[in-house]
Amino acid sequence: MKIQVLGSGCANCRRLAENVRVALDHAGLAAEVEKVEDVAAIVAAGVMATPALVLDGRVLFSGRVASPSQIEALLRGAVTRT
């Protein structure tokens, strides 16, 4: 499982990265978390509103900061599907 937090270093992007960490800890999931700050790379992922969350190359959401519990639900949903 590879998680990418897309955002060019704004306050919301740091909050999202922190929420992802909390969600992973709480769910007891292990994942590689990467922060993508290069704007060209963000746009190349199809995202135009930051911050955004990408799981294994698939965009989960963009343009908002999801809470740790929302992120956890999304990640659990993705884990059970695979």
Partner: protein, 348 residues
């Protein structure tokens, strides 16, 4: 893709029921807010409505309560409606259209699309890479912060519906005119070259596949985040406004900055430009100043400058636009705002 994994069919029905009950409670609260504060300030505390203190205290509590209720209700509804749009979808709607059509459409979509100035760089990149004309991109970037839902809510609550409508019309016209002018000037060579090399995949759209309860959730989250961010400015602005209401003599501003003073509008634009974060506080203060005779066009110009020419937004834009284009952008928008202010002062 649902935001919250929940397969039960009753979830949407329950969400609608909750929203309907909340709406009924909201209407009751909104109708009761004036009688309630009349009763508390004049009957319970016993202040006299005719005194400066009584007037200012009532103004403060009544306005704070009314504006907070309006913000909660309007932000929720607008966010739910906006969840059917996204910057990604807006780009798809704008790509491949003629410049004139795209520019007008971009200004309208700038109002309707959920967008934060913090995303100005990826939005600019995505639009340009998808072949959206520079004129349309700039119209979107001007209209989006200027005809902003929070600012509009405050204008509606404190100045009334006609002024809010006037503000929307002026903002849209300005965005289309400034965007068109920037497009005509052929300034593409001042866009940073890497912008044109970005490849954009198609397909991802965050507005698709949401259920009603997800959209309501987004609305609730947005209300929370905006109210948490703006309340200190709101209290400060309405507090200052209450003071102005109670203690500044009537027609004070009519003497120093009335419609006859041609310098008032440019000065208002210069003062408004660096004040982005406190727009929420500025509207109540401006409402009080206007009640004391400050010309309406001057008030309008001040508020437009404070949202459309925000320093943080300009710093972000510098990453994709070179200084000559950025300076032209600022000059055109500032000139447009001064023109709007002078026009309103002359007409009204």
């Amino acid at each position: 893709m649902a935001l919250i994994a929940d397969g039960r069919r009753g979830a949407d029905a329950r969400a609608w029921l909750t929203v309907a009950l909340a709406a009924a409670a909201w209407v009751a609260a909104y109708r009761g807010v004036r009688p309630f504060w009349d009763w508390v300030v004049f009957d319970l505390v016993g202040l006299d409505a005719a005194t400066r203190l009584g007037h200012a205290v009532h103004f403060f509590f009544y306005d704070v309560a009314k504006i907070l209720l309006l913000l909660v209700g309007i932000i929720f509804v607008v966010t739910v409606l906006r969840s059917f749009l996204s910057v990604e979808r807006t780009r798809a709607l704008l790509g491949g259209r003629r410049t004139g059509v795209a520019t007008v459409l971009a200004a309208l979509l700038g109002v309707a699309t959920p967008f934060c100035t913090c995303s100005v760089v990826p939005a600019f990149l995505g639009f340009t890479a998808a072949g959206v004309p520079l004129a349309a991109t700039m119209a979107f970037l001007i209209a989006s912060p200027m005809v902003d839902v929070v600012a509009l809510t405050l204008l509606y609550g404190l100045f009334g519906a006609p002024f809010a409508a006037l503000y929307v019309a002026a903002g849209l016209t300005l965005a289309v005119a400034a965007g068109t002018l920037l497009g005509r000037l052929r300034l593409e060579r001042y866009v940073e070259p890497f912008v044109f090399e970005v490849q954009v995949p198609k397909g991802y759209d965050p507005a698709v596949g949401l259920r009603w309860r997800d959209r309501f959730r987004l609305g609730l989250d947005e209300v929370g985040s905006i109210v948490r961010r703006v309340w200190p400015f709101l209290l400060l602005g309405i507090g200052l406004g209450a003071g102005v209401h109670g203690w500044v003599p009537d027609e004070f501003f009519a003497r120093v900055a009335g419609p006859e003073n041609p310098l008032a509008v440019p000065v208002a634009v210069l003062l408004g430009a660096p004040l982005y974060t406190s727009i929420v506080g500025m509207v109540p203060l401006a409402a009080a100043l206007q009640a004391k005779g400050l010309a309406i066009g001057t008030v309008l110009a001040f508020m437009m400058a404070s949202v459309a020419l925000s320093l943080p937004g300009l710093v972000l834009l510098r990453r994709v636009l070179r200084v000559p284009l950025l300076a032209t952008f600022v000059a055109i928008v500032a000139a447009g705002i001064v023109a709007v202010g002078l026009l309103f002062n002359a007409v009204l």
